[in-house]
Amino acid sequence: MTVTSVRTPRSSPPSIALIVVAAVLAAVLLVPLGYVVSVVADVGWGTLEPLIFRPRVGELLVNTVLLVVLGVPLTVLLGVGGAWLVERTTLPGRRFWAIVLVAPLAIPAFVSSYGWASAVPSIHGLSGGLLVAVLAYYPLVYLPALATLRGLDPALEESARSLGLGSWAVFARVVLPQLRLAILGGGLIVALHLLAEYGAFAFIRFDTFTTAIVVQYQSTFAGPAAGALGVVLSVLCLTLLVGEAAARGRARYARVGSGAVRAAVPVRLGTLTAPALLALTALGAAAVGVPLASVVRWLAHGSSWSQPELPSALTQTVLLAGGGAIAAMLVALPLAWLTARHPGPLARLLEGSSYVAASLPAIIVALALVTVTLRVLPGLYQTAFTVVLAYVMIFLPRALVPLRAGIAQAPVALEEMARSLGYPPLLARLRVTVPLLVPSLAAGAALAGLGAANELTATLLLAPTGTRTLATQFWSQASAIDYPAAAPYAVALILLSVPAVALMYAQSRRWGAR
């Protein structure tokens, strides 16, 4: 049943209250961007110029740009290649490999970096950063590619074959162009992650803007030098965001006609089967095997489990991340409602600002919140509220995306139907819309909350005095090179990530099937 096609003659205008709430939320979300702008305005270009145009920034720029320019294509190669192998070929054990390929998402990048650094101590610099980051982040391309391949109408490929194209030509000329949105979207997310990552790179001595900002922060607190680096980093992020939007253009790919999608006839790998299996095994070993083996090795070290802080860190992580999840849903709900139920210029503006806000790295969000709470709202300084707010800013898209899909699945026509059956408006919403939203509310909250549970950078800067999360405890042990003491935290972080990854994987399969 396609409820989504129910016609409403015109979307009714949103209530004033909804507009006000959404506008206030969007304004709050834009605080980090405002911070970046105010650094430029406050400190003045005269102070900033020498801080920005200096050799060190040049080095960081080269490192960071190389990381993105080399890292993104590599993740696209692994992500698309992997998705194609498990979705469209005769590879043996495709279901197994489909899950192996998504598994690295369950290992936070800084834990993976710890695993690699303790297994191969000499790993460092750009090559090390690339290795760790590509292995940690390629699933962000793999998942959308998998969903797209699953949803592609094989009739297109069959038509191409009937026009005389071979398997590879079909892939290059028909499949790949249709993957453009998945590649662009996934690539953007990977690039933003690369720009925002702190722990993974700090661990293996690879300097990017984000690691340099943290070092500056540790040397001068929220001083102008950190702000100056933050300005450059924010410009990089926003450039990527705009670039992706421009490259995407108005492209929308949809299947023409109705009728169910048939499964595609898989491509026969033949003699390429063995190399393909070998490549996937190597990838799985590098991305999952090495980090897990390191963790297990340090766990076996004996002293490992005598971590008195573990239970309290777990509790505080659950409380903070749970608060972050609930708050993210509370913020996402009016925004998603507005964009799904009352599309229009206002909704687009609010949606756009939420994406701009979320594209800024955690370190910028943290710097902004430290500065704003210290100077403007001292009552919020060093409070759990501020940490939760940072989580909302960083993980809002994770909550927004499923929620918006959920609201689209619960069209206003269903509420009208309930009203025509005698239910007053609020009761109609409660009986019809709310039950329909529960799965997407749960999915959004889980994704945002589990992201928050693994968050390191902003938590390091913002956590209230005395608060330690799994991630910050792991970080403090691991950066003191106390590998055995860090291992239990690594295990806890991985276990906490597994459900989120399972959810994302299930979601990509469902989107594909639609």
Partner: protein, 348 residues
């Protein structure tokens, strides 16, 4: 079972006027089909009646009770008006039985009433436990009807309920729905863009165009005497020929035709409406008034294109049984006779 009456109803969205001065009475226990092209405002009319939107002007009343006028607005949930949407709008998280039971008052939520309306809508009781996505399109529509009928509303509104269905299923579902409505005796308004559906639905048809109610009456009366050639063409294939009236008849390219209804009001210059079914065709023996322009065999029938003879030729498409079609060839002169008279309209 109550009479539904609309008086002078108007509605705008922003600057766009969607409905203007619509007055319509649906007598208690009867069925009315509102027909119009898409964008004509007919769905909005239904939403005003249901109480999903507020009218800007006019009165909507149910029997003696005013539902909406300048000072009064009864919200949708207090109107007791059932609604069936285009694709059913079944609640996806509820089973068929839960959907049907949804609008029943607590004390009536027995499975007896649910079974009763399901039976009324020709639904197999075995479907009760299924979820909407496990039903066919036709079944979904019938569940939607059963759900709307269950609380015994005084009026049921149907918004293009059959348009999403495949052709075969559509006819079958439509009949099941009409039977159920007939059996329950509920006052019904159907909105559709399909003229056949509208003409065969029930006691009254109301034609809506560009937000205005342009004609209403019994299907036979409206079809027989359309208020304009546009309405005529909307309700079925129409042939409009230039004609000159003369004492009880009119002269046109096909000769003299009797005038059934004269809508010219005495103006000079006129057009004559006839239906293709009124034409009889024979090979010309001596005199002819048309020439076959083209013959297209279509298996079960043939489509002919005729060009009238005379100074200002007119092309007339005509459908004849296959075996007759084979008798004609392009260029052949034919004789066309008109039976049953036509409707005369003023010239453009």
């Amino acid at each position: 079972m109550t009479t539904l009456s609309l008086t002078g109803v108007g509605k705008s969205f922003g600057r766009v006027e969607v409905l203007r001065d619509v007055s319509l009475t649906v007598p208690a226990g009867t069925r009315t089909a509102v027909v119009g092209a898409s964008g004509s405002g007919k769905s909005t009319l239904l939403r005003l009646i249901a109480g999903f939107e507020r009218a800007d002007a006019g009165t909507i009343a149910l029997g003696p009770a005013t539902l909406a006028d300048a000072g009064r607005f009864v919200p949708a949930h207090r109107r007791g008006i059932g609604y069936v949407a285009q694709d059913g709008a079944l609640f996806p998280h509820l089973t068929v039985e839960q959907n049907v039971r949804f609008g029943l008052p607590r004390r009536l939520r027995s499975s007896a009433r649910v079974r009763e309306v399901m039976e009324l809508a020709s639904l197999d009781a075995a479907l009760a436990g299924r979820y909407p996505h496990q039903l066919s399109g036709g079944q979904q529509q019938r569940v939607a009807l059963a759900r709307a009928l269950a609380p015994q509303p005084s009026v049921v509104l149907l918004d293009e309920p059959f348009s999403a269905l495949d052709t075969g299923l559509r006819e079958q579902t439509r009949q099941a729905v009409i039977d159920a409505l007939e059996a329950s005796g509920v006052t019904t308004v159907l909105v559709t863009h399909d003229h056949d559906e509208a003409l065969s639905f029930g006691g009254q048809i109301a034609v809506i165009a560009a937000g205005r109610l342009v004609q209403s009456g019994s299907p036979a009366a409206v079809f027989d005497n359309p208020a304009s050639t546009e309405i005529a063409a909307f309700l079925g294939a129409a042939i409009v020929l230039p004609a000159s009236p003369s004492s009880g008849g009119a002269d046109c390219a096909l000769g003299r035709v009797e005038v059934r209804h004269d809508r010219t009001g005495g103006a000079a210059g006129a057009r004559l409406l006839i239906r293709p079914a009124q034409l009889a065709l024979s090979a010309a023996n001596g005199t002819h008034n048309a020439v076959v322009e083209d013959v297209r065999p279509r298996g079960s029938h043939a489509e002919l294109l005729l060009r009238t003879a005379g100074a200002a030729p007119v092309l007339i498409p005509l459908r004849v049984p296959a075996h007759e079609g084979s008798a004609y060839r392009a260029g052949m002169p034919v004789s066309v006779t008109v039976t049953g008279g036509g409707v005369l309209y003023p010239a453009d």
